[in-house]
């Protein structure tokens, strides 16, 4: 199963980490956020990296999922899984309706429209106090439970979040390596040529937008139950930008790149805390420098570096590129 080698490696890492470092803050807390971010980044990467459609408002779908779960479980006392499904349905519908007019736009206009969509959702979350609790947020969200198994400890959340992450990565890998995945990448390469190959580009764009949105909604629901309390701050423009950065930083059009980017961007601020007042500045500088010197992304860039090193050691040309994700090149 060469195709899924990367996934097995990732799964191995997920299993080994808590065994090696039980009760380590970085494993039980930070890694859980990292896995959550990875779910979001992998979904967004389908849209941005593969289909080439930029979105600066992805946090909106994350927020709609989180708030749907929070409101339904706290106000109506319904089952969290039902709430999660409702969130996915609602987000999917919003994405489906918005996809057509928004995805007709190109380049910076598309960036603006998605940014606007994100801002509108965030403003509604802040302003619709009766429903969302306004800027103070919503608390008392019950934990998830799976056939009586309550997800109520850090370690259990680690298990749930990383399992969902692995699942999402698996789905994304399957999708990319299929007829629909090729259609997505073709869309990025040349829209007219894709149409000429019989691809309904409008439907394909809508499809990937909806998929990215519902994966964000799923992440949002998990986030709401994990945190037990949510406020609009978690779904702001800044978070959308962070997600985009994860995708680009890891390397566009590489699922593992997105995972990698999510991990780097989750751990980096934790490590920069020691710089106290300098934290924001250093974070900005790192972001700039990495994009200037490794524009194809950290993961893809490092992969290339590694391959070159290997080739220097063994000058005979490998028959096929030896990376996990053969579509890595953007």
């Amino acid at each position: 199963m060469k195709r899924l080698r990367g996934l097995f490696l990732l799964a191995l890492l997920v299993v080994v980490l808590p065994i090696l470092f039980p009760d380590n803050y970085y494993v039980t807390v930070v890694a859980v956020s990292a896995a959550l971010h990875a779910i979001l980044a992998v979904g967004l990467n389908l849209l941005m990296g593969y289909a080439g459609l930029i979105s600066l408002g992805h946090a909106a779908f994350f927020g709609v999922g989180a708030y749907t779960s929070a409101i339904i479980t706290t106000r109506f006392d319904l089952n969290p899984w039902l709430a999660m499904a409702a969130g996915i349905l609602l987000t999917g519908c919003i994405a489906f309706i918005m996809a057509r007019p928004i995805l007709r736009l190109k380049g910076h206009y598309l960036a603006m429209a998605t940014l606007g969509l994100g801002m509108i959702v965030q403003i509604v979350l802040v302003q619709a106090e009766g429903l969302t609790g306004g800027p103070d947020g919503l608390g008392g969200i019950p934990p998830l439970s799976l056939f009586g198994w309550e997800v109520d400890s850090d370690l259990r959340w680690y298990m749930v979040m990383s399992t969902v992450m692995l699942l999402v990565v698996w789905l994304a890998l399957n999708l990319i390596d299929s007829r629909s995945g090729r259609a997505l990448r073709a869309l990025h390469g040349s829209e007219v040529a894709a149409e000429m190959m019989g691809i309904d580009t409008t439907a394909t764009k809508t499809g990937v937008f909806v998929i990215a949105a519902i994966s964000a909604s799923l992440a949002g629901s998990l986030f709401a139950h994990q945190q037990a309390f949510i406020s609009p701050d978690s779904f702001s423009f800044f978070f959308s930008i962070e997600l985009v950065t994860m995708v680009v930083l890891g390397g566009m059009a590489s699922t593992f790149g997105a995972v990698f980017g999510a991990f780097v961007l989750t751990f980096l601020p934790e490590l920069l805390v020691v710089f106290e007042d300098y934290e924001v500045m250093i974070f900005g500088a790192i972001l700039m420098l990495m994009m200037i010197f490794l524009p194809q992304g950290l993961f893809v860039g490092l992969q290339g570096l590694l391959r070159r090193l290997l080739q220097q050691r063994a000058p005979a040309r490998l028959p096929a590129p030896a990376e996990e994700d053969k579509h890595g090149a953007a």
Partner: protein, 257 residues
Amino acid sequence: MALLEIDGLSKSFGGVTAIADLRFEVPKGQVYSVIGPNGAGKTTLFNMLSGIYRPDEGSIRFQEREITGLQPHKVAAMGLSRTFQNLQMFFNMSVLDNVMVGCHLRTRSGLFRAALRLPGIVREEREANRLAREELTFCDLERFVDLEAGALPYGVLKRLEIARALAVGPQLLLMDEPAAGLNDTETAEMQRLIRRICERGITVLLVEHDMGLVMRVSDRILVLDYGSRLAEGTPSEIQNDRRVIEAYLGGEVQYAV
């Protein structure tokens, strides 16, 4: 019976008339060429036939069905495929994947079945892979299968575009200047390739500036001038047409036939 029937077709951009009241028919199983000076409207014609531009007026009938104003992917589904004057490759994909995109219409699986990798997907993938490799071999590209499209030289890309268009399984293939930018050897290869495509029973509509190639490869030729029909006929009729010689070639004609 004509495979493609064009009647009263017109298109203008602002003040510029690109195609004016054009009428012609493409018989099945032939190589039919459209020639004309730069800006005569050849690419615009192709863009209308393939559904990229909507004609201002007129009708396009393909396999006896009206296709005027249909979206390109619907036109493609009816069996019309094309290549582009300016390469429209999927440079973000491998050579094989490029051609596998061409197999899009010959496979069925949707997003969800693919994401869950339900049974049948693997078989379908293998089928698409086989079809794509067949077309690559047909276009003499099997050496390049595993490379990234972005790494290929121009001449190879021209053929890759043809392989990709063939993978769609077309009845009619529109080729927009396939020999532009090719050297003599490559042009000769291109000529053979065009004939071999025709021998497979695929009708070819060709736009090309290389007159030698056009004269050697075509069954019929349409001459466009400022978007309208100047002459139409077999290569020898065209070569001896006085209007063509005057208007298009400025009097002196030397074909390397």
